[in-house]
Assembly symmetry: C2
Homo-oligomer: 168 residues x 2
């Protein structure tokens, strides 16, 4: 049985200070490290299409909601700041992937939607992306994968309740 990075780090801490209760590290440290490795891997196929992960998230949010969204909704949907969304929308519009029109009744708000080209890109890219992710996870036995999904869902619900997650 070989150690992962987090186990090595925890062992180092114990050697230096045996009093330390490193329990939370073993969970939080591993989540952070897995997320970092996965994100790094995930980004590769998107870069090939000239997109940032954040931009792809924006396109995906529009595609799966299947309607026009306002920049504010998109910011909430993708958990990022309004300013970041503004900037990304400009880039996506210049690439011809999205279009925008302003609301007739309330001229503060804009409605943003995928162009045909944008929708085609998402519909082509997402299956590729999912296949790639599947390949990264392949080799992990099924019990581990399913056990993780279920327990992460419980953790996520716990965190959403305890921290910021105001949604719907």
């Amino acid at each position: 049985m070989t150690d992962d990075i987090v186990a090595s780090v925890v062992r180092q801490w114990h050697a230096v200070n045996p009093e330390l209760d490193t329990g939370p590290m073993e969970l939080i440290g591993r989540i952070n490290r897995c997320a970092a490795l996965l994100q790094q891997a995930e980004d590769a196929p998107l870069r090939a299409a000239g997109l940032t992960r954040a931009e792809f998230d924006l396109l995906g949010a529009m595609r799966r909601n299947d309607r026009e969204l306002t920049p504010g909704e998109l910011a909430r949907e993708t958990f990022s700041s309004g300013a970041a969304v503004t900037k990304r929308l400009r880039a996506l519009q210049e690439s011809g992937l999205i279009g925008r029109r302003s609301d007739v009744r309330d001229r503060r708000v804009a409605h943003v939607g995928l162009t045909d080209e944008g929708r085609e890109l998402v519909d082509r890219l997402l299956p590729e992306q999912l296949a790639y992710e599947r390949s990264v996870l392949s080799g992990l036995d099924e019990e581990t994968r399913d056990g993780l999904s279920g327990r992460l869902s419980a953790l996520l619900l716990h965190l959403e309740g305890r921290l910021g997650g105001s949604r719907r």
Copy 2:
């Protein structure tokens, strides 16, 4: 049984395209989202001490290794670029938390170590940080927590083998 964010997103995708095999999302999406929420929470107590998470990681690496490290080693230890480490070291040195001396035999390399003040800060902050993390996780039943740690360790080993993790 209520849905987490990822489950809602997956449901939206299925409504729009039932063909999609969203399996990987349920794992990867949850890891990313948990990591985002946890990092946001984690940063709060550190900010109170005037430190970035990344800076604290640097201090922690020095403390737990219990010896002077070179900037290059610190970059590998904290998984960040050399340039980022250089910049953070300068800030930490200006705060009086670390000191540096250059190697006698090979004047390319520098050795960086905690000052007394730096060590005291880590020794005071880390238990606080761990207690805070414990409080964030409290309420999660033990089986879920342990099940997660073990399975995440398996995933982490898998990813380290498959992606970049060249260590030791």
